[in-house]
Point group: C2
Amino acid sequence: MDTPVESTRERLLNIAEQRFGEAGYEGTSLRAITVAAAANIAAVNYHFGSKEALLRAAVARAAGPVNAERRRRLDQLEGSGQPAPEQLIRAFIEPGLDLVLRRGERGAIVARFIGRVAFDPSPRIRELYAAESEPIEKRYLTALQRALPHAAPTAVAFGFVNMLGLLALHQSQALSRAPGTEDPDDPSKLAENLVAFLVAAFDRGLRS
Amino acid sequence: MDTPVESTRERLLNIAEQRFGEAGYEGTSLRAITVAAAANIAAVNYHFGSKEALLRAAVARAAGPVNAERRRRLDQLEGSGQPAPEQLIRAFIEPGLDLVLRRGERGAIVARFIGRVAFDPSPRIRELYAAESEPIEKRYLTALQRALPHAAPTAVAFGFVNMLGLLALHQSQALSRAPGTEDPDDPSKLAENLVAFLVAAFDRGLRS
DNA sequence: GCATAGTTCAAACGGACGTTTGAATGAGAG
DNA sequence: CTCTCATTCAAACGTCCGTTTGAACTATGC
């Protein structure tokens, strides 16, 4: 293992994304986080400044690499001609769902955290996440509208909102699944199943 | 108007579903609710017993009629032979989204409230909603699996989870829509657009 | 050794929370 | 009018919240 020691700052971020993903921002107290992280409660304000700043730092650390990978893949797709809708959908979905499969590691916890923050009940929290992800989302939306010239732009935007929602849904369920509604068979196929579901809906389910 | 007077109990329920839908259960204090409802804070515990009991009562009042209509329509469909997937999807979706359109009335507030409670960050709250809606959901899932014999039951269950998620998404956005991602044109077409989206995904997006 | 900057700590801050109390108020029945 | 029971009320309960304080500790450079 190349984790020689874990700094207080890192432990706080790790526990924060675990607990915020479990019970939400409002439902998680700083005391619960600091106790689990074996840190003093004052450490949060020392390292981050406030509870919300801790959340902001956790969001940036969790969503940053995912969105970076999305940028990388979109750059690559746009570098070689007009991408197909399926390619765009896959390039957006997969970086977010690959996390879900890393159950032994931090991945599934990160996925749940992202999924819950993205659709938190509080508009304040949602905006905090949107600030992190909106630029790359907008790029994908534009690309999808170009890739689906026969559908009205508003219709594609409707589908795009659905894609964001379903991705967050399956991310937030990374560590818990209601019985009887498991993913089809092999959980590693989740991304493929979701892409297939969305591609069908985009290709044939959008009225102009 | 046939609202001669509004009892304290009714005012509390009305404000509760408005505020819980705005900021979530944890993010809304009883004091905020009682002030807005022009009621004393002790009225909540007098009429309901606790904050959670108030939420439970609000969920029952909001979701009850929606699920009743779903039962009615499923009974009717099953009374006349094998229903098509589209009929089932429509019968499930429309009762939940009709609320969204009643912007002048309480409908949109109820829709947002339901959508937020169904996917609240706290498992406790989600279970509280599930207890209300799981029976009818299970009936629809079974009916859908029968209506899609060529798809694996787990695949249909996957699609069903997506349907629940997207419905809750659009319900929760009943009173707020991110700019640039409006519903296609006529908002009254939301149900039709969502049904078309889901039908396409169910018919062609589920791998067996 | 000593000074310095970075980090951790126990303790307390004021405020907001859900809940409870017991008296005051109201309407309806006898 | 009087009794009764449901409802409302101001006030306080104890607890937990995010945040702040100032001292104690740790390590590094001189």
